[in-house]
Symmetry: C2
Subunit: 341 residues, 2 copies
DNA sequence: CAGATTCAATAATACGTTACACAAGATATG
DNA sequence: CATATCTTGTGTAACGTATTATTGAATCTG
């Protein structure tokens, strides 16, 4: 306590909070001097205890080691900072137990605003936290009608994205199109398979279940090893009797692994195999070959998410709907081409 | 306060902290029941205020959007969590003002352990914080004798890394070797240029200043756009009258951009241009062509860093030196080859 | 000039914990 | 039986801040 100024606590509190409108010039100067001298900083912890408020958001993601989430985290942090909030990043590696621990820990720290970027298909396990006053925003995943639990959300139309990708491949003349994904644990992944399936049917093609490769949960690979999984998946698909001529996959890291795995087996991209990713991470544009992918407008998503979450957290009447679904965009680059014959 | 149990605060505190050794079974049960019923969670904020301690580390990095830092952050978070610490990630984008703000903010939040992964060459601007009791650990950067400010550090021998890369290229027969880097603002980058220069001289080659491309500070690209910078750099070098036949660069993201930029100009990697990166991010292995690079043992570095920082933070006598410098390793892959003739 | 009003700064309280000293009842000791 | 010892649980003071009510002094009013 800087009552080194020969003045009361309240007075110090007043000057710090800028309530020196009607204060003696002399007292004010004395306080200022004491602050400088001891270079005193008010304790954020004490403030939080007093106010019950804490200007911090929790960000729960699979792993910042995955460039999509790394970029998203950075953008979310930036957007939050602009509104005076800090962001506590939690890497769950899609482990439900870890996720639960994070939530408890965030709750204990009085953090009441959470951006959820990963989670099993259902939100049920979070309903208790929501009841206890946690405000949960879903990022990059549909809310599936759990609007009592999730108060706002920003995502991309996953099904549409999958349709765009599939339509593009069909348009090039592909008939055997594969799909590669990690364990289908999240709704966004589920939606992507479905979108692809329905588009195939619309074109009169029958989806071949053998071409849907889904990593088993047992693999134990977290999101940090997505490329590794893509590599494993494509090796299995390409050694089938009738391998696919194109693959669509759940994110660009998988796509990178797929390209690598295909090359190991002597397949050239796109001559022997077309590949479509999802996300459009920075890398997609500069890799070889530049990746055809479905773009998510991450920057805009980050901005919107933070804005909506903080608005509901602070009880501000936000403009627009609490749940926004943006349109993904097909970025045609060089990893796709017509099949060989 | 859950004195809904009909019992005193102290008693509740006791059971929560596991001091029920000599407690009536009946009282204990009553408290437990009350806890369950209100699903009561002790306030971490109040605890912190009382104890003055907060089990949280600050992690200051250029940007988690850069996969090297994304991976490092994830590993550091994981290591910290094992010891019961949370990690607050701060993306500075190498902006000194932002960095200063982060430090003040961390200080105000009573966070006293900081892992510093980015910073201008000197540590002087941190000396005040160090005096105020902040424990600063340097990650992936030399401490340059500022041991009064930086209490522990984990890094790789930057100069050796640069020498390994240069020696490899010289061994392949290259004589005109370029260097591409962002603004030389950190000691690690400085060391890398120097290592290269000295190895060239050792081989009897004269370093050509025209081949050293350093982004100006004005470019305004943060670390999130490293690949973009590499692309820009290589375009300038390759349009010289006597372009280099090989380049060494400061990190793998630059290398990826370099490969892309070279291809745009019709140069093939490695036939027309050899490229050596730094870091060995996961992507390096799966890109096309697989990247020859200098490997940093990030996992080990993260473990060591967290261990040393928490040890000094808690006043534990750690084993081994407070400052460790690990050996980088040359990973020869396919982005390097002998020059064309 | 006595009483009412304004002004500037302070004292008191609460936020939810933990640590410590202490109280009341039970049991043991001489 | 009086005292000492143990058992089990309680009361209270901090931690550093923000808010509210309150003081004492100075100025105004009729």
């Amino acid at each position: 306590m800087a009552k080194r100024a020969g003045v009361s606590v309240s007075t110090v509190s007043n000057v710090i909070n800028g309530r020196h409108a009607k204060m003696g010039a002399r007292t004010l100067r004395k306080v200022q001097e004491a602050i400088d001298e001891l270079n005193y900083t008010p304790s954020a912890v004490a403030r939080q205890l007093k106010s019950g408020q804490i200007k911090m958001l929790g960000l729960v993601v699979p792993s910042v080691a995955n460039p999509f989430w790394g970029t998203a985290s950075q953008l979310i942090e930036k957007a939050a900072l602009k509104r005076g909030y800090q962001v506590l990043i939690c890497n769950t590696e899609r482990d439900p137990e870890l996720e639960a621990n994070y939530f408890s820990s965030l709750y204990a720290s009085s953090i009441r605003g959470i951006i959820l970027g990963s989670s099993p298909v259902s939100f049920d396990h979070l309903s208790e936290h929501a009841k206890n006053g946690m405000i949960i925003g879903a990022f990059d995943r549909a809310t599936q009608g759990a609007n009592d639990i999730v108060s706002c959300s920003v995502s991309v139309d996953q099904t549409l994205g999958a349709r765009l990708a599939t339509r593009h491949l069909i348009g090039l003349g592909h008939k055997r199109i594969g799909f590669i994904s990690g364990p289908i644990g999240t709704s966004s992944r589920t939606a992507r398979v479905e979108g692809m399936r329905s588009e195939l049917e619309k074109a009169g093609l029958t989806p071949d279940p053998d071409l849907i490769w889904v990593a088993s949960n047992a693999t134990g690979f977290g999101d940090s090893h997505a490329a590794e999984l893509g590599r494993t998946g494509i090796r299995e698909l390409l050694t089938l009797d009738e391998p696919p001529t194109a693959v669509f996959t759940v994110n660009d890291m998988y796509a990178i692994g797929i390209c690598s795995g295909a090359r190991e087996l002597g397949f050239r991209v796109p001559a022997d195999l077309s590949v479509v990713g999802f996300d459009d991470i920075l890398m997609a544009k500069v890799m070889e070959p530049p990746l055809t992918t479905i773009r998510q407008p991450v920057e805009q998503m980050a901005e919107l998410m933070v804005q909506k979450l903080i608005d509901t957290l602070e009880g501000v009447e936000g403009d627009g709907d609490a749940h926004v679904v943006l349109r993904p965009e097909l970025m045609v680059r060089s990893s796709t081409a017509a099949p060989r014959n």
